[in-house]
Symmetry: C2
Subunit: 333 residues, 2 copies
Amino acid sequence: MAVPGAPASGEDSLIARYFKPLATDPGAFGLSDDAAVLKALGNDIVVTTDALVEGVHFLPDDPAETIAQKALRVNLSDLAAKGADLAGFVLSVALRKVDESWLAAFARGLGADATAFNCPLLGGDTVSTSGPLMVSITAFGRVPQGTMIHRSGAKPGDHVVVTGTIGDAALGLDILKQGRVAEALAGDAASRDMLVSRYRVPQPRNALASAIRGYAHAAMDVSDGLAGDLAKLCAVSGVSALIDLKSIPLSKGATKALVAGATSMGEIVSGGDDYEILCAVGADAFDEFVRSAQAAGVAVSPIGTVIAGGSTPKWLDAEGKELPLTRTAYSHF
Amino acid sequence: MAVPGAPASGEDSLIARYFKPLATDPGAFGLSDDAAVLKALGNDIVVTTDALVEGVHFLPDDPAETIAQKALRVNLSDLAAKGADLAGFVLSVALRKVDESWLAAFARGLGADATAFNCPLLGGDTVSTSGPLMVSITAFGRVPQGTMIHRSGAKPGDHVVVTGTIGDAALGLDILKQGRVAEALAGDAASRDMLVSRYRVPQPRNALASAIRGYAHAAMDVSDGLAGDLAKLCAVSGVSALIDLKSIPLSKGATKALVAGATSMGEIVSGGDDYEILCAVGADAFDEFVRSAQAAGVAVSPIGTVIAGGSTPKWLDAEGKELPLTRTAYSHF
């Protein structure tokens, strides 16, 4: 990505116009070079990459601002779960056509988030495609050397903890697709808007990164459904878990949809796009972790306990009856 | 990108099967986590990102191996020009369908290059698309702090230098499209193959990275045509240049196509996809630079001189007549 002095090709002028203002970090060189410099400052660099495709990860008529925000935030969410402080990102965008007003809105959404999360654009590439819009972002964080939090590391006796509320984004998608939830919440525009916004604009918990780094034995972000992601975390950690279904934190909108019979706990814990943090915290450090989360302004809920064993985590209702999960993980394939 | 222990979604099993064997770096955690760790080792991290789209940057019937190689190598070429030693890369692939034999070949090509260039896969993301195949790579290098070579920095009196030969890839593309070059070289399969291979598999000059770092005042890789890229380097450096057309290094195949009238010097210096290094080297250090390049096994050719001024570089033939350039830069838009 480069802003040329001399002959401005199509790509170069697009970049100069829309993306250069976002490249505020000195290491981005105003996008006037072929590469950026990322200072490690004595830390490890944590790297994650996630791509979003129109029609798969967002809807064709989603606003350009929220597409940009979602593309960045799904990456920031990974870094939060790894306990990393944000350092910057690079962007690839494949466009079907050059729509200046769309690009301006996209850059506006991206720039607002880059500022809000203190995570500057370091470089990128714009290409043309005959297919769906695609946004691929690689984001960088920093952790003191050797302190990245892994999926592995959960220990029997740990509290299983999630941030925020679970299931909202999948319900929001159902609303955008005019599904059962849209019908159940027909008279409640506020809940509908909240759920849709949870689908379009994830709320990555980067404020919790240092608490994760300080207290979590294992962590990952919940992107493919809580049930499937917990199963992955347990498997990699060589443990299992008992989950108390009634402890799963639900938003008002989700509760309403549940009460109306428009969704089920099975769907809620299997839906994708939550972008909350799932982590395992030792019982001894739990109170301190909660205080640290409160100080960071991030809601955390203990939802169960890590246990020894290799079986799939059990999801138990108030009567101790196990929830049958037909689909534990959401896959875009 | 993650290899799950428990429920293998489509994406996860693809990754485990094809990409995990490439993730040899300890910081990749065998692709079993949500992020990778990149050690800076006291250096600056140099970051570049380039995306390739089927039908735009490669042809739909190009072999999977060479698509993978090209996607990686265009990024490595940027790092070479910045004087960076290779550290690793992350990958996003958008696939129209899951074709296991195609994926196996793609991973084979990528793995061969990761090994050959000592640049391991650190992580990635596979997504589905209804459109053309797209491969987006972000690659990382290391330079001692503050030593990345920029596009800016060329000084009057510097030698303008290029590596390898110029124009081959554009001629190779013409051959694949059954153009005039294919006709002119109809009886010369070796030249045709060489030129096609230059289009499909760039030869990034990473062996020259330390010499660039040691001796170049300014450098960039030539990807959008030598004439346009030189104009950019000069503009950012606030200088101009006089180029001696007969010094432009040409391959046998390019010379043959030129002699046959199937191409022109104007086309050769404006064609894209060279992935050679263009740099400015001070006259005092030039001999040492050449010795260092020889030791690295990379051919370098001085093609002109940096001069003061803000005009577009001049391309002069043997009689001192200026080459009129109708199209100085290749744009994919």
